[in-house]
C-alpha cells in the first residue's frame, strides 16, 4: 500500500523554467492538497481539491496551477519558476477534510536558481 507518492524528490530549476510536481494516492481519497513548507515556517496551503474536476485556491496560490482529472492524481504546475518558490512541497490526501487526519507524501525539495 503506497499511500501518497510524490515525484520527483529533488529538483533544481532555473528562473523562468516550468515543471510539474506529481502526486498520486491509492487510498481512494476524495480530498487532496498541496502545501509548501519554507524554513522555519509552517505548512501553507497552495491548492486543494474535493474531488475529480474540482479545485480551489488556498493561502498561497500565486504562481501555481493544479488540475484533478482523476481521483488518484493531483499534479501541481509551476509555469515561470521564481526564487520565491524555493521550498519543500508536500502533497496530502484525506477521506474527508476538517477533522480527518491527512496522509502526506514524503515531499519534493525544489530549488530555483
Amino acid at each position: 500500500n503506497a499511500g501518497v507518492t510524490q515525484t520527483p524528490k529533488f529538483r533544481i530549476l532555473k528562473i523562468g523554467q516550468s515543471m510539474t510536481l506529481q502526486c498520486t494516492q491509492d487510498m481512494n481519497h476524495n480530498y487532496m492538497y498541496w502545501y509548501r513548507q519554507d524554513p522555519g515556517m509552517g505548512l501553507k496551503l497552495i491548492y486543494y481539491s474535493v474531488g475529480a474536476g474540482i479545485t480551489d485556491k488556498g493561502e498561497v496560490p500565486n504562481g501555481y496551477n493544479v488540475s484533478r482529472s482523476t481521483t488518484e492524481d493531483f499534479p501541481l504546475r509551476l509555469e515561470l519558476a521564481a526564487p520565491s518558490q524555493t521550498s519543500v512541497y508536500f502533497c496530502a490526501s484525506s477521506y474527508l477534510t476538517g477533522t480527518y487526519g491527512y496522509t502526506f507524501g514524503s515531499g519534493t525539495r525544489l530549488t530555483v536558481v
Binding site: 505548512l43 496551503l45 477534510t97 476538517g98 477533522t99 491527512y102 502526506f104 507524501g105
Partner: protein, 113 residues
C-alpha cells in the same frame, strides 16, 4: 495573520523526562485540533487529535490538553524517548470546520539520551 501559533521554535528535553509542546489559536470557532509529527526528509504523520468537547485526550505516552478559555492546547510526551526527536506541528481545520487544515510553524523537539 497566523491562526495557529507555536511560539517555541525548539525544545530540548532529557530522555525519560516530560516534553511539553504548546500551541495557541486565535479563532474561537475552531473546534478540533490535531498534532502532526515530522522527521527530516519525510512527510508529516498524524499523531493525536482532540475535539473541543473534551479537555484531554490520551494515546499511550502522548496526551493533548485543551484549554478553550485560554485558546491554548498542549502536547505532553511522557516519558520522552530519543525517537521522539522531530518537528511537531499543531493544526486546526480552517474557518467553517470543513476546510483544509491550518498549521502552526512547528516546534523542533530534541530528546537527549
Amino acid at each position: 495573520d497566523q491562526q495557529v501559533k507555536q511560539n517555541s521554535p525548539s525544545l530540548s528535553v532529557q530522555e525519560g523526562r516530560i516534553s511539553i509542546l504548546n500551541c495557541d489559536y486565535t479563532n474561537s470557532m475552531f473546534d478540533y485540533f490535531l498534532w502532526y509529527k515530522k522527521y527530516p526528509a519525510e512527510g508529516p504523520t498524524f499523531l493525536i487529535s482532540i475535539s473541543s468537547i473534551k479537555d484531554k485526550n490520551e494515546d499511550g505516552r502522548f496526551t493533548v490538553f485543551l484549554n478553550k478559555s485560554a485558546k491554548h492546547l498542549s502536547l505532553h510526551i511522557v516519558p520522552s524517548q530519543p525517537g521522539d526527536s522531530a518537528v511537531y506541528f499543531c493544526a486546526a481545520p480552517g474557518e467553517g470546520g470543513n476546510t483544509p487544515l491550518v498549521f502552526g510553524k512547528g516546534t523542533r523537539l530534541s530528546v537527549i539520551a
